[in-house]
């Protein structure tokens, strides 16, 4: 099996955008073609990561629309929906298409258009992933986060302030990301005094509702060398699931999908958590950064909060987490987020991340979480 490379990447401005989902997909797709120097007629596979364009906008069939808009016909195409991890799932499908030999050039574009909906409407679209037994109680993804955060703080004797410090850190990182929805710092007092959303979590413990798109170009390493010297490799991608019914988990503070997907990716790449120089984690809620940093093996169980308190996950720390600003600062356009995480690691490994560049970054990891850990994709990447 030949090594799988990424030879081009793009992302649009994240935030409140005027365009609709097809506009965003075309913007990122066109920019990725330009960045990779690839003509659309050589694309064999085109994947579109998106959770809910039908529910948000009434636009379905977007994969074929993108193929037409980018003149990529007769490329094979499919829309990839894995809720919030649709982007990561797209990475996995794109990787498989190249690794299997089915495609010599695969374009992945992820997008979501959300901000035209009210917050309650958007919350309900996202909450529709829940089991009927949960949905009828008015459960939302933020309420799962509140339930889990309370249990984590109680179980591991962690201070409430430690969650707030995740938000402070990621907003600080996002200042240097020109594509981020929020490019401004927040202080801990602001986080801790913001309106309560799901006790004990407050407004600044949550990512915003966002429009945006991101894209990646995959091909075999032998083909990559025909286009550029500046590419990165993807030696491992793992995907796994946990229970659909969240309350059935024996330990709600452990994300089994993160554990399993990362073990698959580490085994594939012959790497371990100690090899990772930079990571993009799915901080849709601040508590998720603790859980993932532990379940990926970066820190012992119940110690993720201490790593944040000690500054180990800051820029300049021994394992910078979310140099992009994370979903918290950058924004979370559902289908685009997992693609944008890999975009950030791609930039870091090429040494092109500018003011948010992590020193000596040779190995990176992206962890994209769907639902409340229901589906998880972990991707490992290496500089050449």
């Amino acid at each position: 099996m030949e090594n799988v490379a990424i030879i081009g990447a793009s992302m649009t401005q994240f935030g409140q955008r005027d365009g609709w989902v097809l506009d965003l997909l075309s913007e990122a797709g066109t920019a990725c073609l330009d960045d990779a120097g690839v003509s659309p007629d050589v694309i064999d596979h085109l994947y579109v990561s998106n959770m809910a364009s039908g529910e948000f906008e009434g636009q379905t069939g977007i994969m074929n629309a993108v193929a037409h808009d980018l003149a990529a016909m007769p490329a094979y195409t499919a829309r990839i929906d894995q809720t919030s991890s649709s982007g990561g799932a797209g990475v996995k499908h794109a990787w498989q298409s190249v690794a299997s030999g089915a495609s010599d050039m695969t374009l992945l574009v992820g997008a979501e258009k959300m901000t035209h909906r009210t917050t309650p409407e958007a919350t309900d679209v996202i909450a529709s992933i829940t089991h009927p037994m949960e949905y009828k109680h008015g459960v939302t993804l933020p309420s799962f986060a509140g339930l889990t955060a309370r249990l984590y703080l109680d179980t591991y004797d962690a201070p409430r302030e430690s969650l707030g410090k995740v938000a402070v850190k990621n907003h600080r990182h996002g200042v240097h990301n020109e594509h981020a929805q929020f490019q401004k710092e927040v202080d801990l007092e602001t986080v801790l005094e913001s309106p309560m959303v799901a006790d004990p979590l407050r407004l600044y413990d949550f990512c915003p509702i966002t429009d945006g798109s991101a894209a990646l170009m995959f091909c075999p390493e032998s083909v990559a060398k025909e286009y550029t010297d500046d590419y990165v490799l993807v030696p491992g991608v793992g995907g796994a699931t946990d229970t659909h019914v969240v309350h059935e988990r024996a330990d709600p503070t452990t994300m089994r999908g993160v554990v399993e997907s990362s073990n698959i990716a580490y085994d594939m790449a012959d790497l371990g958590p100690e090899d990772v120089d930079v990571a993009e984690l799915h901080d849709m809620f601040t508590i998720l950064e603790f859980l993932q940093s532990e379940d990926l093996g970066f820190f012992e169980k119940g110690e993720g909060w201490k790593a944040v308190e000690e500054g180990r996950t800051e820029m300049g720390g021994d394992l910078p987490i979310n140099p992009s600003g994370g979903l918290k600062s950058k924004g979370h356009p559902l289908g685009a987020s997992g693609v944008a995480q890999v975009y950030e690691i791609y930039e870091q490994l090429l040494g092109e991340a500018g003011k948010r560049q992590v020193d000596d970054a040779d190995t990176g990891l992206a962890c994209n979480v769907g639902g409340f850990g229901n589906c998880v994709i972990t991707t490992l990447m290496e500089a050449v």
Partner: protein
């Protein structure tokens, strides 16, 4: 009836599934409304979707059915609740307004049980 399924290995799930955690089909049902439970964790949601009470206090609770643990999630009848509290299920005819949210009203039931401190 707060119906949970029991499987050949003794495990119980709420809700029930066609195939249980051990890979086998259910062999029995248990009515959890006849038991009390202990609060595992709770939250009060201040940003509820359409048709949901606000604030909405929710809890994950654990029942002990003859030594077999089984968990459930539901609303709580009060916001005066804490981890470790004992609660009992109380029937509610309509937990949220059918049709106010995105889900097709006819696709599921809307009655169920909230938890009340004992």
């Amino acid at each position: 009836m707060m119906e949970a399924y029991q499987y050949p290995d003794g495990s119980i799930t709420y809700p029930g599934h066609p195939i249980g955690p051990g890979g086998e089909e259910p062999v029995d049902t248990v009515d959890l409304s006849e038991y009390t439970a202990e609060v595992v964790t709770w939250t009060t949601s201040m940003a509820a979707p359409p048709g949901v009470r606000e604030p909405n206090t929710l809890a994950i609770v654990e029942f002990d059915v003859d030594g077999e643990p089984v968990r459930a999630l539901g609303g709580v009848t009060t916001d005066d609740i804490d981890i470790g509290d004992e609660v009992r299920p109380v029937y509610v005819e309509e937990l949220r307004e059918p049709g106010a949210g995105i889900r097709e009203p006819e696709s599921q039931d809307w009655d169920g049980y909230r938890f009340e401190p004992v």
